[in-house]
Symmetry: C2
Subunit: 359 residues, 2 copies
């Protein structure tokens, strides 16, 4: 099938989606021939897919340098980043080397950031092996690591050379992670595409039973929607912020419970319920549409309530959220299903009520 294309001038790149792409050396050859390719992955993904990926890269003419970082959100930190940089320097990687991110969102974000800063920036290829990474984090060039004071506090916009999404790798994904991935799929529908929301409502059971045709469609449509937004606003100066629907609450949840206890998608799921509630209270969304938001999230097996942290803790954590420009709380609100916008200067009382309603 024809790849999707993210059109960003000299930073344009293809998104390949299909089953078995991991073994197709032609996917990698344009980027790695006669170069060093540092493959960043973790101990969960490595036994499943590392050998096949290294073989494809070698067939494509690369000198491969595998680097393992720890698994999980708590590994998305400076220690792992330094480990990657150190391993690459020890292996004599240079400015013409390429990084290959083999794994989920954590691997992709960290490996992408490593590529953004290694010797002031080298190319990288996303090979996402989780649903979350395939539908969201591998597309758009957002890379980052976490800081004790907040998620994604250090990072860069650094577009990949290519995204290679092999949907066959979803076969080995644990159910919980599959469901977490659907949070972002569903989000793309809520903020951008009412018709896709309808399709998801009709097909959520097929998706949960891993029907490959349904999965391929969901991945492709998600990537298309995300790519449209990225092309319109690469560096998130405006429109792109709508992709953060549910994320202001979600990031507070992830930080509040400690990184890794809740999966990103789980935190975003209950964050979207809060954000939909806030939209109703501000007056931009009908109560029955908020009910559809909650129902679809619930049917996907995702949490519709946030963890029982004190209300003040939520508010404190949201203050450091990146979208708190100039100290004012700003939120992405739904303006009907399939449409979203950034709202600033919201009444604190409405935010409190929406969190309380979502606990």
């Amino acid at each position: 099938m024809q790849p999707l294309r993210v059109t960003l001038g000299d930073r344009s790149y293809p998104i390949h989606i299909g089953a078995g792409l991991l073994d197709d050396m032609k996917m990698y050859a344009p980027y790695v021939a006669s170069r060093s390719a540092a493959v960043i992955t973790n101990p969960i993904v490595a036994p499943l897919y590392l050998e096949r990926t290294l073989r494809s890269l070698e067939q494509a003419g690369a000198r491969v340098v595998p680097v393992l970082i720890d698994d999980g959100e708590q590994a998305k930190n400076w220690v792992s980043l330094d480990l990657v940089i150190d391993a690459m320097l020890a292996a004599r990687c240079g400015r013409d080397s390429v990084i290959v991110a083999l794994g989920g969102g954590v691997v992709g974000d960290l490996a992408g950031f490593a590529a953004a800063v290694f010797q002031r920036g080298i190319g990288f290829i996303q090979v996402p092996t989780t649903l979350l990474a395939q539908v969201d984090s591998s597309v758009g060039g957002k890379t980052a690591i976490n800081h004790a004071r907040g998620k994604n506090m250090m990072g860069a916009f650094h577009q990949p050379l290519a995204v290679i999404a092999d949907v066959a790798t979803l076969d080995t994904l644990p159910d919980r992670e599959l469901r977490a991935g659907f949070a972002e799929v569903i989000k793309h529908g809520f903020v951008l595409d009412l018709q896709f929301v309808g399709w998801l409502e009709a097909n959520i059971d097929r998706l949960l039973s891993r029907d490959r045709a349904a999965l391929s469609h969901a991945v492709r449509r998600s990537c298309e929607l995300k790519a449209q937004v990225v092309v319109a606003d690469e560096r998130e100066t405006g429109l792109r912020a709508i992709l953060n629907f549910g994320h202001t609450f979600g990031h507070a949840i992830e930080t509040g419970v400690g990184y890794g206890k809740w999966l990103h998608g789980e935190a975003v799921a209950s964050g979207m319920v809060m954000a939909a509630e806030l939209s109703v209270r501000v007056g931009t969304l009908r109560r029955e549409d908020a009910a559809r938001v909650k129902a679809l999230i619930e049917r996907a097996g995702l949490p519709v309530r946030g963890p029982a942290l004190p209300l003040e803790k939520y508010l404190e954590l949201m203050q450091v959220d990146k979208k708190a420009a100039g100290g004012k709380l700003r939120f992405i609100l739904l303006e009907g299903l399939g449409r979203a916008a950034l709202h600033g200067d919201l009444k604190l009382s409405l935010i409190r009520e929406s969190i309380a309603a979502g606990l």
Copy 2:
């Protein structure tokens, strides 16, 4: 005086050069009004210039957040970077905050890199207070921190919003640092401008006695030359590499003796003598021109010999230099005075001989 201008589309910026600019709030106002401004400096510069800078920023409407990092090249590391990020988050800085780099090359490189990665990138202003920073490192957007395996191994191209070079701050610069700054001034002549080499030969004594008119001319001409190259090749994919004349040897020297023992300019000075020697041996430079290189460096009070490290140590350190693309050693050679180019695939024996001759 009219500012110079670095013309890079939406990343264009002015370079203001003059005496007393530190106290001119108009320099800062376009960038910091109603924003948080994190001023990064060190304990040497702070007692001299921090209060005045904070006052100007406050007059310009900024909320100021001073952050001190340790002095010296050894502070250009992850620990300092994390300290900056942490202090900014603690002070509730966000994506609309601005970083002000007040100090020399270390402060500028580190603060610039912090700006490149803080919440995926914010603006920053260079306020260089050393000659090295005024003539070289504050212009062009190269930012970085060091790694145990090599200098500037993590970094980004991130252009400042403005450069404010107050030549009056050079009054307090120690002689040794003033001389080290001349290494880069002289370098700009060697690689780009034969006429400027002649001017430097005629005026080096005035410069060393800190004649302010001579200093202003040297800073301005250096910035002009550097800006020309940056505009032609922002991300160092070609031409810009010529600014690294002397730096492959120089970085090896800095790493070999331990960061901070030799000043950057001192290492580059003896590196340029080696690179000129290599140019003669490769056949691109006349022996008498190499003698002019060495003589001017010597008259500037800079070392013309590298430290007595084993030859093999030099070679080992140069292998990890960023310009060692694909493992091949590449060098900037002079092709006459005022002209330089990148040469690859040089004979190892010539490189050995040139180092040996420069010890």
